[in-house]
C-alpha cells in the first residue's frame, strides 16, 4: 500500500512537472487510436450494411445459381424446381436501368431492379414483396407496376401513383410507382416488379439472373452444391450465403486494409512520440532515479514505476482515442458516407455500431504501442548504475545504446529483404512490414548520422572560430548537436518519421495521379463518347442505329465498343470484357500496354488474341502467351493472351478483344458505346446537335472525353482525400513530437541556460541558439526523411499498390510540393523550438544554477 502511494506520488509529481509533454503524448496516442478505431468502425459499418443489403436481396435461400456470363435461359428454372432435394425455387431477374432524369450524374444514374415471382418470393424473399395501396391489392401483378424502396423513392423524388421514366436501349419506358417494399434497409435503393413484366419491358424475355433454392430439411448443402455444380457444367456456379459474403469482402478488402495500414502508421508515429517523451523524461530524472536506488528502491520497483507510467499514459490516451474515434466515425459517415467518398460501398446508409470487443482491441493496441515506446527508456533507467547516474553530465551517455548501429542495420536489411517477398492472401503484408522496418531502422540510425553530420560541421566551426570569424552561438549549437547526438536524435526522430511519411505519400499520390492522367489520355483518345442503356442482354445500339451513327458527316472516325461482365471465379467480383477494334499492326496504339507482348503475326493460325489488364495476371494467372478458355456467346472459346495493359478503372480485372472476334463468336452485333472523332472543321456544339437530331438522340448519354478525364481525376482526388487527412494527422503528431521533445529538452537544459545567462549570454542569444539547433536538426531530419520517404514511396508504388490493387505506375517526383513541405517543416520545427525555449529562458536563471545536474 505504501509502495502504491509512493508510486502514485512519483507519477503525479512527474506529470505535474511536465504537464504539456504528457498532454501531447496522450493526444498523440489518442489521435492514433481515434484514427484506427474510426476507420475500423466506418469500414465495418459500411461493409456490414453492404453485405446485409446484398443478403436481403437473396432472402432466406440456401443456394443461389448463377451463370458466369450473367444471364441464362429460364428453362433451367422448371428443371431445378423439380430437382430432388429442392423444396422451393425462386427465379430472379436482376438488372439496372438508366434513369433519364438522373443522367447529369455520370456515376449515379442507374436504378437496380429485381424482377421476381411474387408467389415464389413470398416464402424465400418476403422482404422484397411490394406493398400496393389497400384498395388495389392485385396491383403488384400489373405489367406496368413497379415498387420502390423508400430510399429509391426519395432519390427519384416520386411517390405512390407517380409515373417513373426509365431508358431501355434507345427507348424510354413509363412505369407506375405502385407502392413500397415490405422491408428495405436504410439507404438501399432498389425497385421490384413482376418478373414477367420486367422480362418483357426490358427485353430480357426468357432470361434469368439467378435462381434461389430452398432445400429440403436434412439435405447436406455442401454435397448438394457439388453435385449440382457438376450437373450444370462450367458455365454455372452455385453459391451459399457465406460465398457471397466472401465475394463482397474481396471487393473492398484491399481498400479497407490500406486505410487501416495508414491509420496504423499514424499510431506508430504516436508510439514514437511516447518513446521520445518517456526517453527524455527518464533522462531528466536520471539523478532522481539514482537517488531512489540509493535510498533502497529495487531495480524491479523502478521498472514497475516507469511501466505503470506508460500504462496510465496509454490507457488515458486510448480511452480518449476510442471516444474520439467514435465521434469521428459518426461525423464521417454522416458527411461522406460509409466509403468516405471512394465509391466502394454504393447505395447504402450504414449505421454505426460500437462493438465493445473492437473497442477493447484498440484499447489494448493503444496501450501496447505506448508500452513499446516505454520499453527502451525503462530498461535504460533500470540498467543505470546509481553512482554514475548521480554524476552530472551523464545524461547523453544514458542513451549510448541508441547509437549502436547494428539493430538499425538489421532492421534496414530486413526491410529490404521483405520487399522481395510475395503477397500473403493477396495483401502486401511484407510490403507494409518493410515500411515499418525501414522507418524503425532509419530512425535508429539517427544518432550515428547526427554525430557524423554535426561533427563535420563542428570541425568547420572550430576552424572558423580559431581564425576569429565565428561567434559563440555557432560553437554552442554545433557542439551540442555533435556531442549530445542521442538527445538530438530523439527530437530528430519526430521530424524524420513525419516528414518521411509525408514525402512517401506525396510521391505515391503524385505518381499515381500522373499515371492515371496519362492512362486517361491513352484510353480516351476520341473527342466524344456516346452510350445507350442496355436492352436486355443486348447493348443499346442495334445495327440500324449504328448505321445512322456511322453516316453522320460530323465525325471522321467512329469506334464501337461492346462491354459485358463475366464471372470467372465465384469467389471474386466479376471482370469486364471489352470488345473493340484494336490496331492490328500496333496494339499499343489502342491499349496502354506494359511489358512484353506477342505480335499478332506470330499467333498460330485460328487462334484469337486477347489483351488482359494487370489485375488478370495477378488474380487469374493470365500471363502473356498463355492459352485460356473464356465463355463468349453460348460456348467456351480458346484465346491466347498476347499483351498486358494498365487499367486503373477496374481493379478486379478486365479483358479486351477484337470486336470482330467477339461478333463472330457470339453473333451479337449490338454495342454499348461509340467513340467519335470530330472532323477538323466540326465544332463540339455541332457534334452535339447532330447526335441529338438522330431519331434516338434524346436518350443518348453524350460525354466529352475531357469531361470523363476531369471527373475521373475528381473521383481520384476524392478517394485520396482520406489519405491526405491521415497524412496531415501523422504530420501533426510528428510536430507534436518535435514540440514535446524540444520542450522536454528545455526542461532538462534549464540549468545550462542559467549558467549561460550568468556568464553573459543574452536571452536573445539563447533563443538564437535554440532556433538554430531546431533548424539544423530539422534540416538533417528533412534530408534524411526525404531519402527514407523516397524509399518508402518506392515500396508503396512498386509493391503495395500492385499487390493490393493490381496496377503499376511510373515514379513521379513532386519537387515543388516537397520543397514547400520541407519549408513548412523547417519553419514549424524552428518556431516550436523557439516557443519551447522561451519558457526555459523566461526566468529561473538564478534558481537554475543552484540545482545540480
Amino acid at each position: 500500500m505504501k509502495m502504491a502511494s509512493l508510486s502514485c506520488w512519483l507519477l503525479l509529481s512527474e506529470w505535474r512537472a511536465r504537464f504539456v509533454q504528457v498532454v501531447v503524448a496522450i493526444m498523440a496516442i489518442a489521435l492514433g487510436v481515434a484514427l484506427g478505431f474510426s476507420i475500423y468502425l466506418i469500414n465495418t459499418a459500411a461493409f456490414n450494411e453492404f453485405s446485409a443489403a446484398s443478403k436481403s436481396l437473396s432472402g432466406q435461400s440456401d443456394l443461389q445459381i448463377y451463370n458466369k456470363q450473367g444471364l441464362f435461359d429460364e428453362l433451367l428454372y422448371p428443371k431445378l424446381a423439380q430437382y430432388e432435394g429442392v423444396s422451393q425455387a425462386n427465379p430472379v431477374l436482376e438488372f439496372t436501368a438508366v434513369v433519364p432524369d438522373r443522367l447529369e450524374s455520370s456515376s449515379d444514374h442507374k436504378l437496380r431492379i429485381l424482377g421476381i415471382d411474387m408467389f415464389r418470393a413470398a416464402t424465400i424473399s418476403p422482404d422484397l414483396l411490394g406493398v400496393p395501396a389497400e384498395d388495389s391489392v392485385l396491383d403488384g401483378l400489373s405489367d406496368d407496376a413497379i415498387f420502390l424502396s423508400p430510399a429509391a423513392m426519395e432519390w427519384l423524388q416520386v411517390k405512390q401513383g407517380d409515373m417513373l421514366q426509365l431508358n431501355v436501349g434507345l427507348q424510354t419506358l413509363s412505369l407506375r410507382v405502385t407502392g413500397g417494399l415490405t422491408r428495405a434497409r436504410a439507404g438501399q435503393r432498389v425497385a421490384v416488379m413482376d418478373i414477367g413484366a420486367a422480362q418483357w419491358h426490358f427485353h430480357y424475355l426468357g432470361l434469368l439472373s439467378r435462381i434461389e433454392l430452398k432445400l429440403d430439411s436434412g439435405i447436406h448443402h455442401g454435397a448438394f452444391k457439388a453435385k449440382l455444380e457438376q450437373e450444370l457444367g462450367a458455365q454455372f456456379f452455385v453459391t451459399e450465403a457465406a460465398d457471397q459474403e466472401a465475394r463482397v469482402a474481396n471487393m473492398s478488402r484491399a481498400y479497407r486494409v490500406n486505410l487501416n495500414m495508414l491509420a496504423l502508421v499514424a499510431l506508430f508515429t504516436g508510439a514514437f512520440l511516447v518513446f521520445s517523451t518517456q526517453a527524455l523524461s527518464v533522462i531528466r530524472r536520471r539523478n532522481q532515479f539514482a537517488l531512489l536506488r540509493v535510498l533502497g528502491f529495487k531495480r524491479q520497483q523502478l521498472l514497475q514505476q516507469i511501466i505503470v507510467e506508460g500504462v496510465v499514459l496509454g490507457s488515458v490516451g486510448s480511452l480518449t482515442g476510442i471516444a474520439l474515434g467514435y465521434g469521428i466515425a459518426a461525423l464521417a459517415i454522416n458527411f461522406f458516407g460509409g466509403d468516405l467518398g471512394s465509391g466502394f460501398f454504393p447505395g447504402i446508409q450504414p449505421n454505426l455500431h460500437l462493438s465493445p470487443g473492437a473497442a477493447m482491441v484498440y484499447f489494448v493496441v493503444g496501450v501496447g504501442v505506448t508500452l513499446l515506446g516505454n520499453i527502451f527508456p525503462a530498461r535504460e533507467a533500470v540498467r543505470a548504475k546509481p553512482a554514475a547516474a548521480l554524476k552530472s553530465g551523464s545524461q547523453d551517455s544514458a542513451l549510448n545504446r541508441l547509437s549502436t548501429p547494428w539493430p538499425a542495420v538489421i532492421c534496414l536489411c530486413a526491410g529490404i529483404l521483405m520487399t522481395q517477398l510475395p503477397p500473403v492472401f493477396e495483401l502486401p503484408v511484407f510490403g507494409y512490414l518493410a515500411i515499418v522496418f525501414l522507418l524503425i531502422g532509419g530512425i535508429a540510425l539517427m544518432p550515428r548520422f547526427a554525430t557524423w553530420f554535426f561533427s563535420f560541421w563542428l570541425d568547420v566551426v572550430n576552424r572558423f572560430i580559431s581564425s576569429g570569424k565565428l561567434n559563440v552561438t555557432a560553437l554552442m549549437v554545433f557542439a551540442r548537436l555533435a556531442n549530445a547526438p542521442n538527445q538530438a536524435s530523439i527530437a530528430l526522430g519526430g521530424v524524420l518519421a513525419s516528414f518521411s511519411l509525408m514525402v512517401a505519400m506525396a510521391i505515391m499520390v503524385l505518381s499515381f495521379r500522373v499515371s492515371v492522367n496519362n492512362w486517361l489520355e491513352h484510353v480516351l483518345p476520341a473527342d466524344l463518347y456516346v452510350r445507350a442503356a442496355d436492352s436486355g442482354k443486348q447493348g443499346g445500339f442495334q445495327p440500324s442505329e449504328l448505321k445512322s451513327l456511322a453516316e453522320l458527316s460530323e465525325f471522321s472516325r467512329i469506334d464501337f465498343f461492346r462491354v459485358q461482365h463475366l464471372v470467372l471465379d465465384p469467389d471474386r467480383p466479376e471482370i469486364t470484357v471489352i470488345a473493340r477494334p484494336i490496331d492490328k499492326k500496333d496494339p499499343g496504339n489502342t491499349l496502354p500496354l506494359t511489358g512484353e507482348t506477342i505480335g499478332l503475326d506470330q499467333l498460330p493460325e485460328g487462334k484469337r488474341p486477347i489483351w488482359v489488364s494487370e489485375a488478370m495476371v495477378d488474380l487469374y494467372g493470365y500471363t502473356v502467351g498463355k492459352q485460356i478458355m473464356m465463355p463468349v456467346g453460348d460456348a467456351m472459346h480458346a484465346f491466347i493472351v498476347v499483351g498486358v495493359w494498365q487499367d486503373y478503372g477496374r481493379q478486379f480485372g478486365a479483358v479486351q478483344m477484337q470486336l470482330s472476334d467477339y461478333q463472330g463468336l457470339s453473333a451479337d452485333l449490338s454495342i454499348n458505346t461509340a467513340a467519335l472523332w470530330l472532323q477538323e472543321q466540326t465544332s463540339m456544339t455541332d457534334a452535339h446537335v447532330a447526335l441529338q437530331q438522330l431519331p434516338f438522340g434524346d436518350v443518348l448519354e453524350i460525354t466529352q472525353s475531357q469531361s470523363i478525364r476531369d471527373k475521373s481525376l475528381e473521383i481520384f482526388d476524392r478517394s485520396f482525400a482520406i489519405t491526405y487527412l491521415l497524412e496531415v494527422v501523422a504530420v501533426i503528431i510528428g510536430l507534436l513530437g518535435v514540440a514535446a521533445s524540444f520542450s522536454a529538452q528545455m526542461l532538462a537544459r534549464v540549468n545550462e541556460f542559467g549558467m549561460l545567462r550568468h556568464i553573459g549570454v543574452t536571452r536573445r542569444q539563447i533563443l538564437r541558439i535554440l532556433a538554430a539547433e531546431g533548424s539544423f536538426l530539422t534540416t538533417l531530419g528533412v534530408m534524411l526523411g526525404f531519402v527514407l520517404g523516397w524509399g518508402i514511396s518506392l515500396i508503396l508504388i512498386f509493391i503495395v499498390n500492385p499487390q493490393s490493387f493490381h496496377w503499376t505506375m511510373q515514379l513521379n517526383m513532386p519537387w515543388i510540393w516537397l520543397i514547400v513541405l520541407a519549408g513548412i517543416m523547417l519553419v514549424s520545427a524552428s518556431i516550436t523550438a523557439l516557443i519551447a525555449g522561451r519558457g526555459a529562458v523566461s526566468g529561473g536563471a538564478i534558481r537554475a544554477v543552484r540545482e545540480d545536474w
Binding site: V472, A479, N751, E752, H758, I759, I846, V849, W853
Partner: protein, 222 residues
Amino acid sequence: MLELKNISKAYVEGCQVLSNLTYTLKAGEYIAIMGESGVGKSTLLNLIAGLDVPDSGEVLIDGNQISKLDDDSVTMLRRKLLGFIFQAFHVLPHLTLGQNIALPLLLNNMPVDRAEKMLAEVGLHGRKDDFSHELSGGELQRVAIARALVHRPKLVLADEPTGNLDPDTAHDILQLIRSEIKINGSSGILVTHSHAAAATADAVLVLTKQGLQPIEQVSKSI
C-alpha cells in the same frame, strides 16, 4: 570597483532579506562573506550580478549603476566585468574543457588562445579536448575557476565554490581561486559557510540584519 548604496530587498511582504546595506569594495580586494542560512548572501550576489533587482538603493560596478540598465546592457556588463564560480560547477557536458573555458572569450570577442593557458594554470594541462564526464569534482571546479577568470574580469563572484568538495580538494581550490584572482588583479567576493574557506580571503565580513560587518566586530557584539 563595487559600490552598494542603501540596498534593500524583500521577497515576500514582511520578509525583508536585505535592509539599507551599504558597502564599497576596492579594486584588487578579495573578501569573504559569511552568515546564517537565509540571511541574504546569495541574494546579495545576485543583486551585484544584475540577475536580481533591489527594491531600493543602488549597485554600482565601475561607476555603472546597474539597476538603471536594461537586461541586455546588464548582460553585456556581466559578460565583460564579472566572473562566476558556482557550488555545482556547471561545466557544459557537450563542450570540451577547452571550449567551456573559451566561452567568455568568445562572448567578448577575445582571442581563444588564452583558454589553453588558463587550463594549464589550473593544473589541467593537455586536457583541453576532454569532456566533463571524465573529470572528478575537484577537476570540474578547476575548469569552472579557469572559465571565471579567463577573460580577466574585474570582479569574481564565488558562491560556496567548495561546498561539493572534500577538505583537501577544497583547500587546493580556495588557494587556486585566491592566487588566480591576485594574478589577474581582479577583485573577488567569496560567499561561504566555512571559516577555513573564509580565511583565504583578505577580509572576512558577516552579513547580518544590520548589514555587512567585519567578523571581529560581530564577535565582539556576541
